[in-house]
């Protein structure tokens, strides 16, 4: 057969049409661009089990697919979510909850107390706040398919706060089948009762996670506020993307290929601010608080004088400037509970008012008996704020005459090495830099880094009996004012024994296309209900 130019072209066109046909069919099945939000988040989802890990991105996934019994509203108050009517007995020992009508799992079955109780137990096995609650729980019982109760041994003022919290792991409800999974094992199926369902066919682990509107979800009647109120999915699909290159994400936002970029780098903000199609918003007003963790197990920080000296050494303005420049998104932190949180106070902050005082720090290190041995700082070089902070603090310490050894490594190495209790010259450490969400810093119970329980505490292993006594007192305080009063005592004591210190607080502005409306400002997660493209 003779192949002419015409037949070659015809064959090519026919082949293209055949190849294009699947996309036409698929294109018709996909929601339109106007009903789809494409959002680049701060990282990848490490697992679909938001109870098993404390990683924030797992919580973002959880917020889409699962629902919670209670949710924190915009005023930081717990509000019922899956729960309808609820009450507490006069002796404050028995809480009774009734599930609201219309709750269904994505497989169509009804949500019952047979699902709720194992969900609570599995979550409590993995969560510090949950454990704190369960230590006081005498009985957890179902009265019928919709009603259950929590009976306490002693009055505990944080029951609803703990169930509603937004720091990880959040108290997500799962089907009985998944909820009865060993808390140390990940669940293998994603069936929630939340406003979105995970579309596994379109999801590509590591790069994009596709969530479709759950048509059977019955939202509450109240307006959305925080993670409370009506969770109304106003778009058909949300695609959460993992795009590791910031420059590419910024370009994609400018080109309109994505609608939202959660963590644009500070140095690229002017470029985005000058684009009239893009707006910048701070969604998490409490932001993050930078922590300097000191190792209590080894000299010099096994001595309280050396820890106090660090308060006088760290100049927060220098540290913040090194990473954020002259940013309007940063502030210095004097309160042990962060700035802007309900527990913020000004007890025992003379060290802060006086500013950096190297002479005083030198004197305190001398009183601590510092013998010139190397102080090892683990510098996570792949995370700018941690890397820069390590260097600025090291320089201040050198100015005070300390022998500082900055050891460069990536964050995953820090995560591994920080678990070592060995002396610094045998694979251990003295200082590492990290941060936590402002909302979590503001809660003495829910953040594991606040514990001062020695060997059982978070990395650094601070120990202080009075601190622990006060944390318990705070948890039992019946009113907000009572908690604030205990928070003052806690802070006054904390700035004496110094369980950790802070290098500043910053908020992370998010960038989005101007036509994206209704993204709810919440600490810790980005919820996609209520958001729409106009």
């Amino acid at each position: 057969m003779k192949i002419t130019r015409r037949t070659a072209i015809q064959t090519g066109l026919a082949a293209s049409a055949i190849l294009a046909a699947p996309s036409i069919v698929r294109g018709q099945a996909r929601p339109s661009a106007a009903r789809t939000i494409r959002a680049v988040m701060h990282g990848d989802i490490p697992t679909y089990d938001p109870i098993w890990t404390t990683a924030n991105m797992a919580g973002y996934h959880g917020g889409m697919v699962y629902d919670t019994l209670f949710g924190i509203d915009g005023n930081q108050q717990p509000q019922p979510q899956m729960v309808g009517r609820h009450g507490v007995s006069d002796d404050k020992l028995t809480y009774t909850f009734e599930l609201r009508d219309g709750l269904k799992w994505h497989d169509g079955s009804a949500v019952t107390t047979a699902d709720i109780l194992p969900s609570l137990k599995r979550w409590a096995a993995r969560d510090g706040g949950g454990q704190h609650l369960m230590e006081r729980v005498k009985d957890l019982a179902a009265k019928d398919e919709k009603t259950f109760s929590i009976t306490l041994r002693e009055p505990y003022g944080l029951v609803l706060d703990v169930l509603a919290k937004t720091n990880m792991p959040m108290c997500f409800m799962m089907r009985k089948k998944e909820a009865e999974t060993d808390p140390m094992q990940k669940i293998d199926q994603v069936v929630g009762s939340g406003p979105f369902t995970l579309n596994l066919n379109e999801t590509k682990p590591g790069t994009q996670y596709v969530y479709d509107r759950n048509p059977n979800y019955v939202p509450r009647a109240e307006a959305a506020s925080g993670i409370a109120g009506g969770k109304i999915a106003k778009v058909d699909r949300v695609i959460m993307m993992n795009m590791p290159d910031a420059q590419t994400a910024v370009a994609a936002l400018q080109a309109g290929e994505i609608d939202f970029y959660e963590v644009p780098p500070t140095d690229l903000l002017p470029q985005l601010e000058s684009d009239r199609n893009i707006k910048i918003e701070v969604l998490n007003g409490l932001g993050n608080v930078g922590q300097v963790r000191l190792n209590y197990l080894h000299p010099p920080f096994d001595n309280v004088k050396a820890r106090q000296a660090m308060l006088y050494l760290v100049k927060q303005s220098d540290v913040l400037k090194a990473t954020f420049g002259d940013s309007k998104y940063v502030k210095q932190v004097s309160s042990y509970f962060g700035m802007g949180t309900p527990m913020e106070n000004d007890a025992n902050i003379d060290w802060f008012k006086g500013g950096q005082n190297i002479a005083k720090a030198r004197e305190l290190f001398k009183e601590a008996g510092y013998d010139g041995r190397p102080i090892v700082i683990m510098q996570a070089t792949n995370i700018a704020v941690m890397s820069n902070t390590s260097l600025v603090i090291a320089q201040a310490m050198r100015q005070a005459g300390l022998n500082v050894q900055v050891e460069a490594m990536d964050w995953s190495n820090v995560v591994q090495r920080r678990a070592s209790k060995a002396p610094p010259n045998q694979g251990g450490w003295n200082i590492f830099i990290t941060w936590s969400g402002g909302a979590a810093i503001g809660n003495p119970i829910l953040l594991s880094a606040h514990a001062a329980t020695g060997d059982k505490a978070w990395f650094g292993w601070p120990s202080d009996a009075k601190h622990e006594e006060l944390r318990n007192k705070w948890a039992l305080a019946p009113t907000l004012d009572a908690r604030k009063a205990v928070a003052r005592e806690l802070q006054a004591n904390a700035w004496n024994f110094v369980p950790q210190l802070y290098y500043g607080q910053w908020v992370q502005p998010a960038a989005m296309r101007r036509n994206l409306r209704g993204v709810i400002p919440v600490a810790e997660i980005v919820p996609w209900w209520n958001a729409e493209k106009v």
């Binding site: 510090g128 590591g206 370009a251």
Partner: protein, 313 residues
Amino acid sequence: MTAYIIRRLLMTIPVMGLVAVFVFFLLHLSPGDPAAIMAGDNASPESIVEIRHKLGLDEPLWRQLVVWLANLASGDLGRSMFWGDPVTTLIAQRAEPTISLALTTILFAVTVAVCLGVVAAANVGRVVDRFVMGLAVAGFSVPVFVVGYLLIFLFSIELRWLPVQGYTPIAEGILPWLHNLILPTLALGLAYVALIARITRTTMLDVLAEDYIRTANAKGVARAPMLLRHALKNAAVPIVTVVGIGVALLIGGVVITETVFNIPGIGRLVVDAIARRDYPIIQGVIMIFSGIYVLVNLLVDLSYTFLDPRIRY
């Protein structure tokens, strides 16, 4: 010839075995703990220990190696520590974008580079030659990600002709598929063009100095047939060799290019796996890339017999 191919294929077994042992120790002896990363930043030390136990990372290293090699021998690359999916499945899911990018890049680079090399050799010492060689130096000197950002700025932000990022499967149409691949192909192909263009020029200059070319010139053979039919064919062996060696360059470039253009290929898979210390994925991808490199070199060696009938194995 068949015996030679069988012998070469058998030789790949010890090579791959050495690669496997080397990769295993390289990963497991370098710092980093997947269990700690999986558990999250605020996890307790106890839960990290528990996860490490569940993953078998608390087993002696030699035992982990033996298990891995035994699985490898039966074609099992293991399962991702994070996703629990078989590594072969994850690689298969990501193969299409990477193969597409590699093929379009080789096609683009070989076509453009050979043309440029021939033109430069035919015009040696002239402006065209200097321009092509200048381009080659620039192409080799500028990193892939810089070229990528410049292309994005020009063609995506300023002109709005091409997308910034992403990948469209070929099953959704050739044009959308190509639309997404043009910029990554250009960015990745530039260094490859530089390499092949330089070697083409040099080899062509050697061939053009041969007696039979002078004879062809004297007999009045037209310039184009002389360059393409007589000179280029005889210059093909070194060019094909460089194309084969360049596969290593291509594999390294693919990893960066997929990150810059957000292409969900094997390069992105391995970058993410390295950040998480997902050992089975890293090991699996390196084994597959090593296997590809060994096979490409075998194909290059075999191609010599077609390009130069004097070569026999």
